[in-house]
């Protein structure tokens, strides 16, 4: 049921959503999350970003969390596409689509999947700066706020009842 892809090339958000929901009478909600390469972070501008991944494990780790999401919420379909390689500001990086009968499950599952993608899928971002720091590349540091966002899904009663 789930579509999981890692690819160097861009993806078409509308086409992916159509593939997920077209001809399906049981889907009442599709939540679409697109992660996009930012052009600035703090004082320095970002010229480009390169995403490294662990082939094999990245797909398996995403699949494990998709399975968990399918067990926690009443999902009718899931698509996760994560790009790797070099991206410039404005480029798509990641797509998460979750489909369900009602919006609550789709919203919660999309947020859950993104939180886990950020902290447990084996991807690493390296940034290239513009201006005086143009020659330097630096690895992006993991944020405590991303880990905190992931940890909250392990707290009891975090099931979230689906809104109609």
């Amino acid at each position: 049921m789930a579509t999981i892809r890692l690819q160097r090339e861009d993806f078409d958000v509308a086409a992916e959503q159509r593939k997920l929901s077209e001809g399906r009478g049981d889907i009442g909600a599709v939540v679409t999350f697109t992660g996009i390469c930012r052009g600035g972070e703090g004082a320095e501008d970002i010229a480009a970003m390169t995403l490294e991944h662990y082939p094999g494990m990245a797909e398996e780790e995403i699949a494990r969390h998709v399975t968990e999401a399918e067990q926690r919420w009443a999902l009718k379909g899931v698509t996760v596409i994560h790009r790797y390689g070099r991206m410039v500001p404005g480029d798509n990086i990641v797509l998460v689509l979750t489909a369900s009968s009602h919006r609550g499950d789709a919203f919660a599952a999309a947020e859950f999947l993104m939180d886990y993608l950020k902290t447990s899928a084996p991807f690493w971002k390296q940034e290239e700066r513009t201006g005086a720091a143009a020659e330097k590349t630096s690895w992006v540091e993991a944020r405590d706020t991303d880990q905190a966002a992931t940890d909250r899904w392990n707290k009891p009663n975090r099931g979230r009842t689906a809104a109609e």
Binding site: A58, E61, P122, W124, E141, A142
Partner: protein, 87 residues
């Protein structure tokens, strides 16, 4: 653990060590992921630099996240990398 095992490195761990992967044959006394980090660190400056702060190093055995005290027994592929920053 006994025998040869494939070790993979990613992101700045890979850059500091200067290799994407290698086959190593640690002695039997190397039993856990943490033992392997200590053993690798003694192999040279580049390894010592990569593993200088073991607390930030993440590890996977056969493509599944593991902790430093996980036993290596039966492992075919062990990966070391910094905290993940995808999404």
């Amino acid at each position: 653990m006994r025998g040869k095992v494939k070790v993979l490195y990613f992101a700045w761990v890979r850059e500091r060590i200067g290799k994407t992967e290698e086959i190593v044959e640690p002695p039997a006394a190397v039993r856990t992921v943490g033992d392997l980090v200590t053993w690798l660190s003694a192999r040279g400056e580049e390894y010592a630099h990569a593993f200088e702060n073991p607390k930030v190093i993440r590890a996977a055995i056969d493509r599944t996240h593991v902790k430093q005290d996980t036993a290596l027994a039966g492992a075919r592929e062990i990966a070391f990398f910094p905290p993940m920053t995808g999404g």
